[in-house]
Structures are given as structure tokens and as C-alpha cells.
């Protein structure tokens, strides 16, 4: 009998969570992708922005208030979208893996304060070597089942390898600062949430063959996200769908062990 009641409640929560999640996702997907005829320089800049945003470290967690002393270790995975790497009449021979990832550590201090660090430690994948480091600080507050989170972060990326040609090694260096706010609900082990964020990107792309550096300086951008967290004992899993500027949709998954 008890199991039946719990089962019904869980089913109701599931329906509620997904209704909320789908509505948010629907609004995100409503924004159309638009663009007209372009120059090669515009294509080059857009490609650099897309790769930079895909490197961006996001929250990838529901803004759940955790007690002081809690430590989280996470693995984040990000499926990569299909990327049309054509610039002018040339298709850049960049080969990305279907999935990228990072390791993340978050510690919760007093009154909802959070510190975090993420890393991709010099991983050589295919023809490229990626190194990344991110630090973040956040504040989470709770009012009953309503949860809020404010987060600032800084990421540094360096990718070395074959990007514009297979005969030379190029280098992409990114610096990004982000701030985002998220609002969520804590329904037992379901945590639907949504948020908005702003970022500043500084990117330098050194092309060895041409010996030029393509720079993106102080590019301010916005992003929105909806997510769903699932929590069971000390484990939690998370799905987060992102929309960045008006040209990129991507999602991230994470598995977290809490100590």
C-alpha cells in the first residue's frame, strides 16, 4: 500500500517535472536561427565563436542548497553538434570528438556559498591537445522547495593542433568570464530549473600557415538554459540544455558523487 502511494506521487512528480521542463524548452527552441548572405570573415568569426562557446564551462547542476562542508565530484559530458566548418570555398579540416568532457570539484561553505574548480588536464585527443582550467564561486539560497543560485566563473582554454590544415598546428586560446542566475524547484529527487547568463569572451586563434591571429576581443554574449537534476542518496545526475546567442543549441550531462 505504502509503495503504491509513493509510486503515484512519484508519477505525478515526473509528469509535473517534464511539463515544466518541456514548456521551458519549447520557449528556448522558439527563437529562430537567422542569417543571410555572408563573407568569409563573418564565417570565420562565427566558427570561432561556436567553438569558443562549446568550450565554455557552464553550471551543469540544479541550484540546490547544500550544507556546509559538502563536497561534490562530477564528470561532465557534452555531445558536440554537427559543425559545418566551411569558410569561403574551403572546409576546415577540424575533427572534433562526438563528446567532450571535464572533471569538476565543488565545495560548499557556510550560508550557501560555493567554490568550484574544473579541469581538462592536457588531454590529447586525435590531432589536438586541450588544456583547460575553470574557477567558480556561487551563492545558493533556498525558500522551501524554491532554490536559487548565482554563479560567477572564469575559464582558460588552450587547444593546440590541426584545425585549419593538416600540415600545420594552430592554437586557440580562450578566456571567458561568466555570470549566471538560476531558479529551480526541489521536488524530492527531481529538480527542474532554468537560468540566464552573460559572458565575456576573449579569443585568439593563431593560424600557423597564414601566420595571422584572429582575435575576438571583449565579446559580450548571453545564454539561457533549462535543466533537470535527479538525486538519489549521494549520487545525482543532471541534464542541462543551453541556448547561446542566437546560433548555438547544445546540452550537457553530468554525474556527481557527493561526500
Amino acid at each position: 500500500m505504502g509503495r503504491e502511494v509513493v509510486g503515484e506521487l512519484t508519477g505525478l512528480r515526473l509528469v509535473k517535472s517534464f511539463l515544466c521542463f518541456q514548456i521551458a524548452l519549447f520557449f528556448i527552441l522558439l527563437w529562430p536561427f537567422t542569417s543571410s548572405a555572408v563573407t568569409a570573415i563573418e564565417q570565420s568569426r562565427r566558427l570561432q565563436l561556436v567553438y569558443s562557446h562549446l568550450l565554455d564551462f557552464r553550471s551543469n547542476a540544479a541550484p540546490i542548497y547544500e550544507t556546509s562542508g559538502t563536497l561534490e565530484v562530477s564528470v561532465d559530458l557534452q555531445p558536440m553538434p554537427d559543425i559545418d566548418a566551411r569558410i569561403g570555398a574551403k572546409t576546415e579540416p577540424v575533427e572534433t570528438l562526438p563528446v567532450s568532457g571535464r572533471l569538476r570539484l565543488r565545495g560548499f561553505l557556510f550560508d550557501g556559498w560555493m567554490l568550484g574548480i574544473s579541469s581538462v588536464p592536457g588531454l590529447t585527443i586525435g590531432k589536438q591537445k586541450a588544456t583547460a582550467l575553470q574557477t567558480e564561486m556561487g551563492l545558493r539560497k533556498t525558500w522551501g522547495s524554491i532554490q536559487t543560485g548565482l554563479r560567477v566563473s572564469q575559464s582558460l582554454w588552450e587547444i593546440l593542433g590541426q584545425m585549419t590544415t593538416t600540415r600545420y598546428k594552430d592554437r586557440l586560446e580562450n578566456r571567458q568570464q561568466n555570470i549566471d542566475f538560476s531558479l529551480g524547484l526541489d521536488w524530492s529527487f527531481w529538480q527542474p530549473y532554468a537560468g540566464i547568463g552573460r559572458g565575456i569572451l576573449n579569443s585568439e586563434f593563431w593560424i600557423e600557415e597564414s601566420q595571422i591571429t584572429l582575435k575576438i576581443e571583449n565579446h559580450v554574449y548571453s545564454y539561457q538554459f533549462v535543466g533537470l537534476g535527479l538525486r538519489e542518496n549521494t549520487w545525482s545526475f543532471n541534464f542541462e540544455q543551453h541556448r547561446t546567442e542566437d546560433f548555438l543549441l547544445h546540452f550537457q550531462l553530468s554525474a556527481t558523487q557527493k561526500f
Partner: protein, 138 residues
């Protein structure tokens, strides 16, 4: 632990169903085009076309997009020569010699380069028409 696996499986399934991953890189978009009406001259359209499709690299001083081997004595953003810098008036000869179709021995590679904005068929037609008529300024 069984519940944990179920949740993970559920989340992965939900991600596959609802996750959206898409990037508009502009890679599939048509190249920008300068359409010229009337007789093409430097002042009537060719100047805009050459500045858009050629002078993004061939300009003095060099632009951020100019590769390292770009000639330092060629400025296609202007028509006339100045001191030791050649202007776009030289283009007519090169176009007549086929630079839009092949590399010219001792002069240049086939232009535009593959990672530059491609010329459309109408633009090529306008450039050839301008060249055969002596690449006039006005």
C-alpha cells in the same frame, strides 16, 4: 544502487529524446554578393565588389585577415597607383590573363583564395566585362 542506475538510464534516455544540439556556423550560407546594374566601372560597382572580395586582404596597411605572403605593394581598396603602391587598375590585365581561373606564373595564385569569400557567377561576369572594356574608372 538499482534506483541510481535506473535514474541514470532515465536521464540518458531523456537527453537523447529532448536534448538539442545544433550550431549555425554560417558555413552553408551563400556568399555575400555585389550586384552591378548598368555598365560596370570602378565607380559603378566594381570598386565595391573589389573592396568586398579582394581588399579584405589586399589592402595597405594589411588587415587582420591578410596572410603573411600578401604582396606589400598592392592596394586593391583604391583604383589609382600611389608612389610605389599599385592600385586596382592592374586587375583588368590579371583578369584578362585568367587569374580567376588559374594561377598566373610569377604573379599570383588563383584568386580569390579558397578561404576568401567566393565570387558569384554574376560577379565574375561583371569583372570580366569590366576587364575586357579596359577596366575603366568611370
Amino acid at each position: 544502487m538499482r534506483v541510481t542506475y535506473d535514474l541514470l538510464l532515465f536521464l540518458l534516455s531523456a537527453s537523447l529524446l529532448f536534448g538539442c544540439s545544433k550550431a549555425d556556423t554560417l558555413g552553408g550560407k551563400a556568399p555575400d554578393e555585389v550586384v552591378i546594374s548598368g555598365t560596370p566601372t570602378w565607380e559603378n560597382g566594381i570598386g565595391d565588389l573589389v573592396r568586398s572580395k579582394c581588399a579584405s586582404c589586399h589592402v595597405i596597411p594589411f588587415s587582420f585577415y591578410s596572410p603573411h605572403n600578401t604582396p606589400s605593394t598592392l592596394n586593391l581598396s583604391v583604383y589609382d597607383n600611389s608612389s610605389n603602391i599599385r592600385g586596382a587598375n592592374i586587375l583588368g590585365i590579371w583578369i584578362n590573363n585568367g587569374i580567376l581561373e588559374k594561377a598566373l606564373t610569377g604573379v599570383a595564385r588563383k584568386m580569390p583564395l579558397e578561404y576568401a569569400t567566393p565570387l558569384t557567377s554574376r560577379e565574375i561576369e561583371s569583372l570580366k566585362s569590366w576587364s575586357t572594356s579596359g577596366s575603366p574608372k568611370n
